[in-house]
Amino acid sequence: MSEHLPILVVLIPLFCALLIFLAGVFQKRAAWAIASLATFLAFAASVKLLALATAGGRISYRLGGWEPPWGIEYVVDYLSGYVLTIISFIAFMIAVFSRDYVKKQVGLDREVNFYAIYLLLITGLLGMIVTGDIFNLYVFLEIASLAGYALVAVGKKKGAIVASYNYLILGTIGAVFVLLGIGHLYMVTGTLNMADLRGLLPGLYHSKVVLTAFAFFVIGFGLKFALFPLHTWLLSAHSLAPSAVSSILAAAVLKVNVYALIRVMFTVYTPEFIYNVVPLAEIFFIIAPVAILAGSIMAIAQTNIKRMLAYSSIGQIGYITLGLALANETALTGSLIHILNHALMKGGLFLIAGCIIYQTDIYDISRLKGMGRKMPVTMAAFTICGLSMIGVPLTVGFISKWYLALGVLEAGRWYFIPLILVSSLLTAVYFWRVIEWAYFHKAASEEALPGRKIAEAPVLMLIPIGIIALFCLIFGTAAFIPEEFARRAAEFLLGGI
């Protein structure tokens, strides 16, 4: 059975999404259980796949039995195994978290749709990761995006629908750009298989069509993962969506789109092309620092906790792109660890914000006074994720910054060191503010929240947060685990297949 895992990891959430629709006609309560089970199975399959890929190298699956250049191929290698595991893990955590959250913040009548669409989103994301066919990538991208638009609008917040609409318009532009890029590549090579493209393209690197295609890919995926000047949709979409959705959007959707760009950069094109033929690195060297600084500074200015987290995502994406541009193994390792890091901590932080909002309806940071005592577990998790975001040693955030910084030095671009450190400081400013309000200030008098005692969120919401926070620590102390996978993946990307 394990040879079918690459397709099963996509099929499980798909089947379960359909099952939820089907079952939802009769029994609405089963939705959560099916979604949790599906994401768990996908996670288990991902772990197994990662183990297989680590042991035996590239796993290829021929869909419908057709040979690769003609048929659709699914590929699990170091990189996709690594990202697959991260994304399916986060998806599982968020699914577990959602039970109580969705009941209250989304509403019972939309529960079935929520979970089914959520699973479709996961299907799209996992599909994007495993597919080795570039058009198939586009199809999964659109499945994930459509589910994403729908999920943003599912909440009760009024502005969310407009946010979703804007997300849809810009997201579709991005997807169409990707489609155009694929079309250009197909025009000159006549193939859609990534590995095949890699073999055919080098002779055409200076062809304008191939260059244009690359530009379309960068802009298209850049729009999807909120690369700095293309980030405007992210703020309202991430801050107004229900927190569980913000969490999956920030932790998984952004990451998978970054992954897709990495795939295109290193598997369809080659390091030789992206670093020597096109001035991608030079562009990223300008964009990434601006993104890092602007994201952090704007985050400081926010009073709404979810908006703060949304802005900080823009800065964090900047780190990942910086690592991509540096063109050495250490920096790329840092980038890949940062994908894990950001998935864990931003996913965790949005869930934590969800807990707070679920219990208190508080969005304003200054009203979190005394929350450390009222919601100790939640705030402890917040602190850990926050420290990881700052990059304090023994959290996973430090590891990614460590490798990024070493990569920066290796590339001889020492002037990015102050950038990394300053942005850490800025991050410390906006997180410490919350931590101080929560722990060291006396709670505001109860009149602020009439007739309501603030207590901890339900256990099923706390467990995922706790696990995520724990992993921030585990991967910060036993960092050789993610480092091993990330370094192998980086080696593999830069070294060629």
Binding site: H4, I7, L11, L14, F15, A17, L18, L19, F21, L22, G24, V25, Y61, R62, L63, G64, G65
Partner: protein
């Protein structure tokens, strides 16, 4: 309502033929131009014609929300399920010649594609109808 009488009579006459044609297109997809998408759209169009002629409520009585809600995923499940059954036959996903219903790979392949076209047809038709109902229905709540 009187001015609708011509429309209604014509619609009543046309709908069975449209549906028959839809089924033909779906079934023919394996060998010639046609298939689940096209057939499904035609099938869906027949229901939409019914709605236009007879009104939302009358159509809903014939084709309830529950049924379309069931048909939506059911078609897809049929598609994906056939693909999955191929695994049992020892093939890859969607490798129809390994469909464990017959030993003849060509027949198995044909059956597989039939099944899939039917699945696609059901879903497309159901989605069309659902979309139309959702858009036409005025949510006054």
């Amino acid at each position: 309502m009187k001015e609708l009488i011509i429309i209604r009579v014509v619609a009543r006459l046309m709908i069975p033929f449209i549906q028959l044609f839809a089924l033909y297109v779906i079934a023919h997809g394996e060998l010639g131009p046609g298939g689940g998408f096209q057939g499904g759209v035609i099938l869906g169009a027949s229901f939409i014609l019914h709605v236009l002629a007879f009104g939302l409520e009358e159509s809903r009585r014939r084709l309830s929300e529950k049924v379309t809600d069931l048909l939506n995923p059911a078609g897809l499940l049929l598609f994906a399920g056939i693909g999955l059954i191929c695994l049992i036959g020892g093939g890859m996903y969607l490798e129809y010649d390994r469909l464990p219903v017959t030993a003849n790979p060509i027949l198995a392949s044909q059956l597989g594609i039939y099944g899939i076209e039917i699945g696609v047809g059901i879903t497309v038709a159901a989605i069309m109808v659902t979309l139309f109902f959702e858009m036409a229905h005025r949510h006054d709540d």
